[in-house]
């Protein structure tokens, strides 16, 4: 058995979260999520949390496990033996209930970076040609599962809720770097705004937390350099010479 200390918050009942302890079996194969499912099914049906794929790809099950943002379906109880395992909601988000946080802030910011392909000119009859090397340029940034672990790890997001945040910027970059895309200029107003890439001070914890190797910190740094260079060009070149 291992002790799980789970943060509970019941709106209307509690003013602030409280901690509740449960004993769950310690099995080699069990993820933290399996422990929670055991609690829900056998001990306490009132515990609320999100999960779906239990294979680390849907991005629902982000939680703070022993202080670190994690996918609870891909984090194993045995790694915390002998316990206790502390399970809290993701930090930096409002808590709706127990381990469920409100990510609507991200959902409203995401469309602002225009995370879709913008192509000027003709679309070919068949596929756009894109070599594997061209794909490598953006591939890693396309791996984001929107799990919000990076937002939970980023102190700038905690302090400045206006900040677009790591995943949204990385997704904007994902399209900017796609050889099929011509939308970089359209995205610039948002990505290169004060609440965009410039707000990031390169804490770098977003990339440490990311379970999918997206490296949002790198994406942002890279974007800053490109944006700064193009701003410099705008500044130095007369209007007509610009594209």
């Amino acid at each position: 058995m291992i002790k799980m200390e789970v943060t509970r918050f019941r709106p209307g009942e509690d003013d602030a979260p409280i901690v509740q302890s449960y004993e769950v079996p310690l099995r080699k194969e069990w993820a933290v999520l399996d422990g929670l499912n055991y609690i829900k099914d056998q001990l306490d049906g009132t515990l609320s949390y999100r999960w779906s794929c239990r294979m680390g790809i849907c991005g629902s099950c982000g939680m703070t496990v022993n202080g670190k943002p994690q996918l609870s379906c891909a984090t194993f109880l045995t790694d915390y033996a002998p316990g206790p395992v502390r399970v809290e909601p993701l930090r930096n988000f409002p808590v709706i209930r127990d381990l469920v946080v409100d990510i609507s802030d991200f959902m409203t910011k995401l469309p602002k970076v225009k995370p879709w392909l913008i192509h000027d000119g003709e679309v070919p009859e068949d596929e756009f040609l894109q070599t594997p090397r061209e794909m490598d340029e953006y591939k890693k940034y396309s791996m984001c599962i929107n799990c919000m672990l990076c937002y939970s790890a980023c102190p700038v997001y905690a302090l400045e809720p206006e900040f677009l945040g790591p995943a949204a910027i990385a997704l904007g970059q994902r399209y900017n770097l796609d050889s099929r895309d011509d939308g970089a200029l359209e995205r610039r107003d948002v990505l290169a705004s004060a609440a965009g890439a410039w707000a990031c001070t390169f804490v770098g914890e977003c990339s440490t937390a990311c379970p999918k190797g997206v490296d949002p910190a790198g994406a942002i740094q890279r974007y800053k350099l490109t944006a700064a260079v193009s701003a410099l060009k705008d500044f130095l070149l007369p209007r007509g010479a610009r594209r």
């Binding site: 979260p17 930090r91 930096n92 102190p155 390169f202 910190a217």
Partner: protein, 122 residues
């Protein structure tokens, strides 16, 4: 919806070693600024003549100045190391692996440092 807003403590950077390291890295800029002051004092002293330069050397040997410079050196090194670590993430050169970018930075650092030392000590 009466969601609970998780408070952020003013001491958030003490919660985790990596956050503390980040704040220390940011504070290194203060010591960079101190270095500028120190450098300008030196240059002014050199310009003022041999006496002033001697005075400067004596002053730089004072305990507190030494301690300050020792601390500053530590911070400046922290700055340099973290700065170079960051460089390959921002500077992406097609077909050049990130470690090569990192190595290039360290090479440049070594070269420039040797060059400066040579010019000064010649």
């Amino acid at each position: 919806m009466s969601a609970y807003r998780q408070p952020v403590s003013a001491f958030w950077w003490l919660r985790q070693w990596s956050y503390l390291l980040f704040v220390l890295r940011e504070l290194s800029s203060v010591f960079v600024a101190w270095f500028v002051v120190y450098l300008l004092l030196l240059v002014a002293a050199v310009g003022d003549g041999a006496r002033a330069y001697e005075d400067f050397l004596a002053w730089s040997g004072h305990g507190w100045v030494l301690v300050l410079n020792l601390v500053a050196t530590a911070f400046v090194l922290l700055h340099a190391v973290t700065w170079f670590a960051l460089a390959p993430r921002a500077i992406v050169v097609p077909r050049v692996p990130p470690w090569a970018v990192l190595v290039a930075h360290y090479a440049a650092w070594a070269l420039l440092s040797a060059g400066v030392a040579w010019v000064v000590l010649r």
